[in-house]
Amino acid sequence: MMEHATTLSIAQPTTLLPLTFLLPLVGTLILAFSRGQLSYRASATVGTASIGLAALTTAALALGFAAAGPQQLTLWTWIAVGDFTPGISLALDGLSLTMLGVITGVGFFIHLFAAWYMRGEDGITRFYTYMNLFVFSMVLLVLGDNLLLLFLGWEGVGLCSYLLIGYYYTHSANGWAGFKAFVITRIGDVFLALGMFLLFTRLGTLNIAEILELAPQAWQAGDTTVELAAFLLLGGAMGKSAQLPLHTWLADAMAGPTPVSALIHAATMVTAGVYLIARMHGIFELAPTALYVTGVIGALTLLMAGFAALAQTDIKRVLAYSTMSQIGYMFLALGVGAYDTAIFHLMTHAFFKALLFLSAGAVIISCHHEQDMRRLGGLWRKLPLPYAGFMVGGAALAALPLISAGFYSKDEILWQALAADQQGLLIAGLVGALLTSLYTLRLIIGTFHGTAKSDNARHAETGRGLAHGLPLVVLAGLSTFVGAWITPPLAEVLPAGPGDATHVGHSSLELLAAATALGGMALGVWLFGLRRGWLRLANRGPGAGLWHLWHHAWGFDLVFDWTLVRPYRLTVWLLKSDLFDGLFRLLARLVRLLHLGLSRTQSGRVRGYAITMVAGVALILLSLALVIQGT
């Protein structure tokens, strides 16, 4: 079937479908087997072009999709044993198309930007190999029509994330950050795997469409089994999407190159959990408790991460916590049953967070790898383009009313929460919006305003070239209301949210949300810009304690260190000498001891032997005599 993929035709979208992942795969293979023979330019070209072509393919698919509708393509049967028959088969519907667009579209611009960002680095071939492999895995994740293929992509993106976080391998800390990311997400993956096992055992299929069809027939809403399955899937999503309490890896993941953070840890991979829950919405619809817990986790995460983002000094860590917070919004939306809204926010978030990260990357390279806010400042004249990127992206992040993409999606989430009658979640969302405005302002003011606080910042060099400018401009454009015009074709795939039916009170909520965002911004300007009141607050009394707590993101790392890492290390240390084998070694030692004792009797003196023998004979005869006497 593979040979069909070579015949390009827009009229038959199915034949185009494999190209979306084959192109990145070809890129990966070319780069991986070049064995260091390619120049920088050639590597970057191959790496970027493969994703660019995949993006074009996606565009063609989108055009075809309008006419032809959902597609289905089976390449080959992966495993066939009994009724266990997952295939390497792809399904294209509105949801996957949206994800595909985000992955290849945003991915292409990030790859392009990376060609500028990574100049002068060693091992660019390795970088693009991993990046292309990542896109390949991510595409398979969203296109897979069964859970096992989805899991293939799911693990693949995790591996690429690990590799790219540890890209600068000469620093051990980077490697350990990647390690942490992989292991924590793997914990989530185990839950997902268990969910797969459960669903397959009960429903006899792994095909997602069939599962969604069979589940309502098999279970009543609220049935324990289906709740359990939903919780297991949720566990997988929490790990991948850095939701409480499996979120600690994301901040450390910033050790990777900034384009990696933009692509993997903001735009695509971390939102895979949202995709998973939206994809499996049929299960969650039957499991109200799990769905509610999803919302609560989202709300808690968005608050926790919002506070933590307030107290970070590394600009990338601020963005990392804001990513967690925004995904928290998406989970909140999922939790109230507004799947399409979550995906919509996923898309806009991909635009503006990629923009923010790329702008941050531009700042970091321009300032000679300086990424501590306390050592930046006053850059807005020297770096106009990144400044503009930060302004537009920040506006979208803080949901500046009307002109930003973020406003439309976040407002929709809050409305859906209200319509679902979840006041608690709504309040959390509003508080989170306030926090978002605050830390966004702090980030922009700290980085671009005031005076330059280090030599690196004073001698910032402006980035040049198409690879630097084009991604920032395009993403900035998409982060404004232009991006909000894109309507994902989700109506066929996902059920309508609770707020789609009526619009009573929608406008008053919009006003409230807008007021919150603007109020937060005003407060931020006052706190960080005009009066510098923030410093006074953060340095004194309880403020310092809170700062410390938030700076370490509520101390989750410490908790995990004491509850998991240290006990595990202790176990390793205790068992190091192989306890069970020790039993056998003890046996061997005992035998040796006996051997030594017995060989002592081997004196070599004949008389001694004779005496021993006679004593033995006497003993035997004596006992014999006694026995005879006894009878």
Binding site: I611, V614, A615, V617, A618, L621, L622, L624, A625, I628
Partner: protein, 200 residues
């Protein structure tokens, strides 16, 4: 006859005690000869004259002669006697003696249970009976005995050889002859006899 038995028994025990306690090797050998002769008398008293004769000829005669030869050859004189005196401390012999006594008492107590009703009156058994038995059903055993003697001969002549030291001692030459001739004489084993004869 009973009297002869008990007297010679007493003599045998006393002579053996002498063997065990005497520090002088030559005296000890002589005591041993006496002990063997006493045992031979016991045999006569019990009515086994053939065995008694063998005892005198082979044991007291041939084997003991060997011992005497060796003692004389090694020239064990006063030094050995002193050495033996020094070794014969109570500390040395007490433990083994107790052990041997225990064994003896056990044996005796086992024998003294009184369930052996037999009384030896003597007579009745002749050399003829023994010969018929040996060359009848026990022929294989006789062959094996001959083989054993041949092996002993080869072993003794091999072991007794003394490296590169000159002056071959007479012992290895004498030992096989002395050991095998009487035994062969009793066994009437021509083939072994022939071998021994060639050796001599």
């Amino acid at each position: 006859m009973e009297l002869a038995f008990y007297l010679s028994a007493l003599m045998a025990v006393l002579a053996t005690l002498g063997v065990m306690t005497n520090p002088n090797p030559v005296h000890a050998v002589l005591y041993l000869v006496v002990s063997l002769l006493a045992v031979a008398l016991v045999f006569f008293a019990l009515g086994a004259p053939f065995a008694g004769a063998l005892e005198i000829i082979v044991y007291a005669g041939a084997i003991m002669v060997l011992f005497v030869f060796v003692v004389m050859m090694l020239n064990l004189g006063q030094a050995t006697v002193d050495q033996e005196r020094q070794w014969l401390q109570p500390r040395t012999w007490l433990g083994p003696s107790v052990l041997a006594t225990v064994l003896l008492l056990t044996l005796v107590s086992l024998l003294w249970r009184g369930d052996i009703q037999a009384v030896i009156e003597g007579g009745g058994l002749t050399a003829r009976g023994v010969g018929t038995l040996l060359y009848g059903p026990w022929l294989l055993l006789v062959e094996l005995g001959a083989l054993l003697l041949l092996a002993a001969l080869v072993t003794a002549s091999h072991v007794g050889r003394i490296g590169k030291v000159a002056a071959p001692s007479p012992a290895p030459r004498d030992l096989p002859t002395g050991a095998s001739t009487p035994a062969n004489g009793q066994a009437h084993q021509p083939s072994t006899n022939g071998v021994a004869g060639e050796d001599v």
